[in-house]
């Protein structure tokens, strides 16, 4: 008979190794669909690694994909720390992108030192406001935020489509539903010449460090952790639970909004309704792979980005459907969940006699 015993404390090495093993297990499990698709398995993995890391150009592509994933991953990690289930990163990302094109496509112009902070603040605010709604509904009416944030993702995407066919449509686009281009002074500058990786990456790294400091070194961070561990006990101890939840919601939504700003102002240059291939949802996987650690988010985002970019390239080489990337991402989430179990419980095989007693 198998028994699970809770561990008193998790060995540090195990908490680092568990997500790594989960990632490896997810990749290994992907061999099944690869075989089903009739692809040469080892060759496919080789193409995937080469496609993500094989040259400066592809590595720049991987870093470009890492950028929004760091921000949506942080958004999920902060919220989950407080047990606020923000599954609305996708909608908040679009809200941020929409705000960035609303202020950054020529309505106002100024030098980059004004315009860049302006689009960043506008995007973060839009994302934060979109998360504030479900949080207030949770706090005031007890409406489950999982469902409301998920449903708002669909509402937001429709709202973006509406704006791209209406008020924010580029008059020069000949009826195509896209926004006007972000003006040069509001664009996030590229990091390397002729490559797509842009300064949004630096923004993401700064955000990760800032969130790490917030969580570990500040009173707000202490309150967030306390609310997440036991909201009733936190309230009893005099921690302002409602205020903490609202703060977390604003920070989380704001981070996801910044991811949207990065994608339009750093990468695409204009907004379309297919801006994000699910960065919001992938952010949840990133946060879980990172075990909700802000610095871990950076590593996990790089891994997920490498899967997306590598699988795309492998898919072109072997003809395997590119949904293989989404499959690996989904498998990573389930594997890390099981891995988390191993870090919290000791698995013991015990004799039948002992189990009866």
């Amino acid at each position: 008979m198998i028994r699970f015993e809770p561990r008193q404390d998790t060995p540090a090495i195990l908490s680092i190794l568990a997500p790594v093993f989960a990632a490896v297990a997810a990749l290994a499990l992907a061999a099944i669909p690869l075989a089903f698709a009739g692809a040469p398995i080892l060759e496919s993995y080789r193409l995937m690694v080469q496609g993500a890391f094989g040259s400066l150009f592809v590595f720049s592509e991987t870093l470009t994909r890492t950028t929004p994933l760091i921000l949506t991953g942080l958004a999920a990690a902060v919220a989950f720390r407080a047990r606020l289930w923000n599954i609305g990163g996708e909608g908040q990302l679009y809200a941020g992108a929409l705000a960035a094109v609303a202020v950054g496509t020529g309505i106002i112009d100024g030098p980059p030192v004004v315009m860049i902070p302006l689009v960043l603040v506008a995007g973060a605010l839009a994302g934060a406001l979109l998360m504030l709604g479900p949080t207030l509904l949770k706090l005031k009416f007890g409406a489950d935020e999982v469902v409301t944030t998920l449903l708002l993702n669909f509402v937001m995407l429709l709202f973006v489509q509406m704006m791209l066919e209406g008020a924010l449509q580029d008059p020069m686009s000949l009826g195509w539903p896209q926004s006007a281009p972000i003006i040069d002074s509001a664009a996030l500058p590229p990091l390397l010449p002729r490559l797509r990786v842009h300064s949004g990456l630096i923004l993401g790294l700064i955000a990760a460090v800032a969130v790490a400091i917030l969580i570990r070194r500040t009173v707000w961070g202490f309150e967030i952790r306390a609310v997440g561990e036991n909201a009733a006990a936190a309230r009893f101890a005099g921690i302002p639970v409602t205020a903490t939840m609202v703060r977390v919601a604003l920070i989380s939504g704001g981070l996801a909004g910044l991811a949207g700003v990065g994608e339009v102002a750093g990468l695409k240059g204009y907004l379309t309704s297919d801006l994000s291939p699910g960065f919001g949802y992938a952010g949840i996987v990133v946060a879980m792979l990172a075990r909700l650690s802000p610095l871990g988010v950076v590593a996990a985002a790089l891994f997920i980005a490498a899967i997306f970019v590598g699988a795309d390239s492998m898919s072109r080489g072997t003809g395997v459907a590119s949904y293989i990337a989404d499959l690996v991402v989904a498998l990573s989430l389930l594997c890390v969940l099981v891995g988390g179990f191993v870090t919290r419980y000791r698995i013991r095989l015990v004799g039948a006699r002992k189990a009866e007693a």
Binding site: F4, P33, F36, A37, W85, I87, L137, F141, G142, A143, D144, V146, V147, T148, L150, L151, L152, N153, F154, V155, L158, F159, Q161, M162, E165, G166, Y281, I284, V285, M288, G319, V320, A321, Y323, I324, D326, L327, V329, A330, L331, L333, L334, L337, V338, G340, F341
Partner: protein, 313 residues
């Protein structure tokens, strides 16, 4: 008045019932899982998997009812995965559910693309046809609204009665309700908490997948990417709205169906003044409002989301 004109056509109510049908399966499935104490956020992906599997089975040559069975078994398989992670292992039901949704939808898309690499227009199957119930379908108004639906819709209505009967009139139903409220009491009676919960999640997920199959086999005749479009999440909201009761689940799904059908008809009448997206947003807001209205007084199964371990009291 125009609005009344819409509500008074049989055609409107026929559409409302058609839109409600997949949601009836979905809400029944979700309420079975939650009654046993397990939130199943895999629903959105299980809908997609059911839609794909049922459609593909028929496309490969089996008959429609076998296709429904294939869809149900596919859903059951994903339900089993969710149940194993959340019941004996007691892992986060939220995270596992999102994981199952991501896995089930990406696997469905992957298999569809692998089987049909180069299709631009999705291949069609011969879906369920409206089945006019003798005599009843000749009744004025409700004859065409209620009794000229497909057999798949009638199955949804029958299942409401079956689930209600099992839940309230059988020992199994009693045990199922108890395991979501007070698993210790169930354990004390010598019943298996794990067995009941796993069984409920598997059965509930099979129903969810049938809701998905309704989309590709009765409402439409092909599989499209993104065709589930939040219907699973709407079911989760409607389950709270229905306070976990099959009868109210039917009412909630029909109300939603009526609202959605109304929205589409309103669009054709006043669509010139407002962008189409405004109307398309309304069903999602409807679900949010339905959730908010009942959330405060909702009588959640007391052990919902709470893992239970044998011998760890």
């Amino acid at each position: 008045m125009e609005i009344l004109d819409i509500l008074l056509t049989a055609n409107f109510w026929e559409a409302a019932i058609r839109i409600a049908s997949p949601l009836i399966f979905g809400v029944l499935g979700a309420l079975i899982c939650e009654r046993a104490g397990v939130l199943n956020l895999g629903i959105e992906g299980i809908f997609t998997a059911g839609a794909m599997a049922g459609w593909m089975a028929v496309w490969l040559g089996v008959d429609l009812w076998t296709g429904v069975l294939v869809a149900a078994l596919t859903g059951a398989a994903f339900g089993f995965l969710h149940a194993m992670l959340t019941v004996p292992l007691g892992l986060s039901q939220h995270v596992s559910g999102i994981g199952v949704t991501l896995l089930a939808s990406s696997l469905s898309y992957f298999i569809y693309r692998t089987a049909l690499p180069n299709v631009s227009t999705p291949p069609r199957i011969e879906p369920f046809r409206p089945f006019e119930i003798p005599f009843l379908s000749d009744l004025p108004f409700i004859g065409s609204a209620l009794f000229s639906q497909t057999a798949f819709t009638y199955l949804a209505f029958i299942l409401v009665a079956v689930v209600a009967y099992v839940l309230y009139k059988t020992p199994l139903g009693l045990a199922l309700r108890a395991v979501g409220d007070n698993p210790d009491s169930v354990d004390a009676q010598g019943l298996s908490v794990y067995g009941l919960r796993i069984g409920a999640v598997v059965a509930g997920s099979a129903l969810m997948a049938m809701g998905g199959a309704f989309l590709t086999m009765s409402a439409f005749d092909a599989f499209f990417f993104g065709m589930v479009n939040g219907r699973g999440w709407i079911c989760i909201a409607l389950t709270v709205f229905a306070s976990w009761r099959p009868g109210k689940a039917l009412a909630g799904a029909l109300l939603f169906g009526a609202f959605d059908a109304f929205q589409v008809r309103l669009q054709t009448q006043v669509g010139a003044f407002l962008p189409s997206q405004v109307f398309l947003m309304l069903p999602y807001f409807f679900a949010i409002v339905a959730l908010v209205l009942v959330a405060r007084k909702a009588d959640y199964p007391r052990a919902l989301l709470v893992p239970w371990f044998k011998g760890a009291r």
